[in-house]
Symmetry: C2
Subunit: 430 residues, 2 copies
């Protein structure tokens, strides 16, 4: 190449075509649709894993930031601090103690990988185990972020129905047998056993044991997503599935998004080193954010155990407001099971309601909801269902938002038939 | 599935096989090798983009954390804060002003996407433009993280040699013509024009114009990685290539890793909305770490312009120590161009030195270096070259580390032939 002359340099930059560069011909097939410009949160926002702004422990985080930066701020000069690529060691040590105390899960700091939110955990587990065309088992109604990832990866999902105790083991056994008869080994069984998203159920210990037995029988790993497990009204939870396994065929993930603040983007993975070392090799981001890890470790070690019950009391009160508002505005048209924890309610409306259409109409009226089909492998079953998150809006916003939602739903679908109160009737008649 | 009986539940968990679960049969083809357990930094570490621990503005970051959390801490309850998915608005506003001032780059906060370090920027640009089998143009000697990503994606790289002014335009023109003659449109031209990694060169404005002219002529986007651009000894830099483009066919990325602290993991992308909206759709991580964005914005707005010159003076002094130590220990065996900024030196040793072997031998002696072949598309050319990062070790560590490296190199390859001083000779004769 060195012998090429520079004749082309005689063309000056003034002659450069000024037409706008067109990237479109360069884009590969299969890209998702471009994102729309962000236009702000809805006035009444019942979506996303957002939390209660008044419950962010701001003063505690300030003190923690000050203390940890005074002591260790200089370590920010090094990627991965002085703790290596698995994440800030004090945070892993806190998690080791917390998991033992809360989830009966015995693991050391070396068994934990800190990640940028549990979404990165999903990405790393998927990248380690999945190829296009693979099959996984998942709860029929499940986390949208997990479902979307599997769709994008071209992975087949088998949805297992749930009851009040979570994933149904009869259906799981049947699905495993059916897949085996077709020569398919699913790559994992993904479950949110402790405050299931979106149904809010908690899988009892006996069913966890049955799940493990089936998983071991069919040699399928269990992928346990425990990211809501801290938010239980009575604070009591069964042992983690990871803790109950005798074979080590479980990958466990969790997060600080729900217990402290979602914008911090700190989650974690607990897994056998055989898998952790694979995920670490795929985690090519030079570490997750150090300041957030440091501040969380400094705050959580002394305060986590007292902060969480206070947080859940506030969330429980908001749930009560939401259920009251639904009963008042929708009457018997809205059916739901009272969840044992979490930040969301999974609601069934009458069969003629299409929650994808309701979502559009409600958004135009300033209310955002999660339409059921986006949170389920069974779009028909979930067609009249929706998820309502109650942690972020205030009590007043919950009441007002549900009233607006009922108004929109009645206008679009004729349900709820009856208006809850005179003031509401007067407002809608204007 | 609902009709399946629960006969299998009669098998108790006591009969569960206790053998360790074997994940190996489930792993897809093409995974990278598992990570090794981390064993700590080398005693004399000349690798990685680590910075000077004494130059982390710890007190300023503490004050910033306290101020911004007092004012806006509650917003941590919401994913993406109140700023939407492109990142904390005040940080984007700071960047907009900074890029205008330093790089003559006019863009608004809406043209900027905050990401988790410039590595995520590389991932997003690659995911938006590249498919397996594609071709990209890259500087022959380039950033290992960029090269590794392209290898993993199965993308072909055409390496363009550099001279003291960066990527050579005669070679670029020849490569573009050659590819065109073979019907190949490269997906982008990746360049680190401002303190090139690893050569430390700065591409002058005239050459940037020529690069843009060629890119436009062949309809190839320019991917400008400016992550070292703040660290220039005299503080003067040419306009960003992005700023000079009249067509908009440039994607610009940058980082706070080098100017503030690498462990913070905050970078950014500036691109036309056509591309930014595509990257945003692929950024499914629910936002980058908010606390780090908030603290950076609060610290940088008043302090960035005074912090950086102080930082570069310190780096420049460490570079002097490194060059003196190399001259003293290696004499004429070590050849290098004095870089105009940055945190690394690209060193050529005699042709018989294999820096991949030197790397192994030096590591055993407590010195870590970046062997040239990992930083180049031309493994032969780079076989006797190495990259030495000088920001993290102290002046004493630089002197001692280079002495140990010279000792190892002489032992393994017979160069440098002459020992620098008597004390050194005495030590090696033990």
């Amino acid at each position: 190449m060195t012998s090429v002359s520079k004749t082309s340099a005689s063309v000056t930059s003034a002659s450069m075509p000024s037409a706008t560069f067109d990237f479109a011909p360069l884009l590969p097939a299969g890209l998702p649709a471009p994102a729309a410009k962000w236009t702000g949160l809805a006035k009444y926002s019942f979506v996303g894993g957002n939390n209660d702004p008044d419950q962010v422990p701001v003063e505690g985080l300030i003190d923690a930031a000050s203390a940890v930066l005074h002591r260790e701020g200089k370590t920010l000069a090094t990627y991965g601090l002085a703790s290596g690529p698995q994440g800030y060691r004090r945070l892993r040590e806190f998690l080791s103690a917390k998991l033992k105390r809360d989830a009966s899960l015995a693991c050391s700091a070396d068994d934990i990988l800190i990640v940028s939110g549990s979404l990165q955990a999903l990405d790393l587990v998927n990248a380690t185990l999945l190829a296009r065309g693979d099959t996984v088992i998942i709860e029929r109604d499940s986390y949208q972020g997990a479902l979307n990832r599997l769709t994008r990866l071209g992975v087949n999902t088998v949805g297992i129905p749930l009851d009040r105790e979570g994933m149904r083991m009869d259906a799981l056994a049947a699905a495993l047998a059916d897949l085996k008869s077709r020569g398919i080994t699913p790559k994992y069984i993904y479950t949110i056993p402790t405050v299931q998203n979106p149904t809010g159920t908690i899988m009892p210990e006996t069913r966890r044991a049955e799940l493990l037995r089936l998983a071991q029988q069919y040699r399928v790993p269990v992928f346990e997503d425990d990211c809501y497990a801290d938010l239980i009204w009575d604070g009591k939870r069964p042992p983690a599935i990871y803790a109950m396994s005798t074979s080590g065929g479980v990958i466990h993930i969790g997060s600080f998004s729900k217990s402290i603040a979602p914008a911090l983007r700190v989650g974690f993975i607990v897994a056998p080193w055989e898998m952790l070392s694979r995920m670490l090799a795929l985690k090519t981001d030079a570490g997750s954010g150090a300041l957030e890890q440091m501040v969380l470790a400094e705050y959580c070690a002394p305060h986590f155990a007292t902060h969480v019950p206070k947080l859940t009391r506030g969330l429980r009160a908001k749930l009560d407001t939401l259920m009251e508002a639904l009963n008042e505005q929708f009457g018997t048209s809205a059916e739901f099971e009272e969840p044992k924890g979490g930040i969301f309610l999974w609601v069934k409306l009458p069969d003629n309601v299409d929650t994808l259409k309701l979502y559009q109409a409600a958004l135009a009226a300033g209310v955002s909801i999660n339409p059921g089909p986006e949170w389920s492998t069974d779009k028909t079953y979930a067609g009249c269902r929706l998820r309502l998150c109650f942690a972020n809006p205030s009590h007043d916003q919950i009441r007002e938002g549900v009233a607006v939602l009922a108004e929109v739903c009645r206008r679009e679908f004729g349900v709820p038939a009856r208006i809850a109160n005179v003031e509401q009737a007067a407002r809608t008649s204007i």
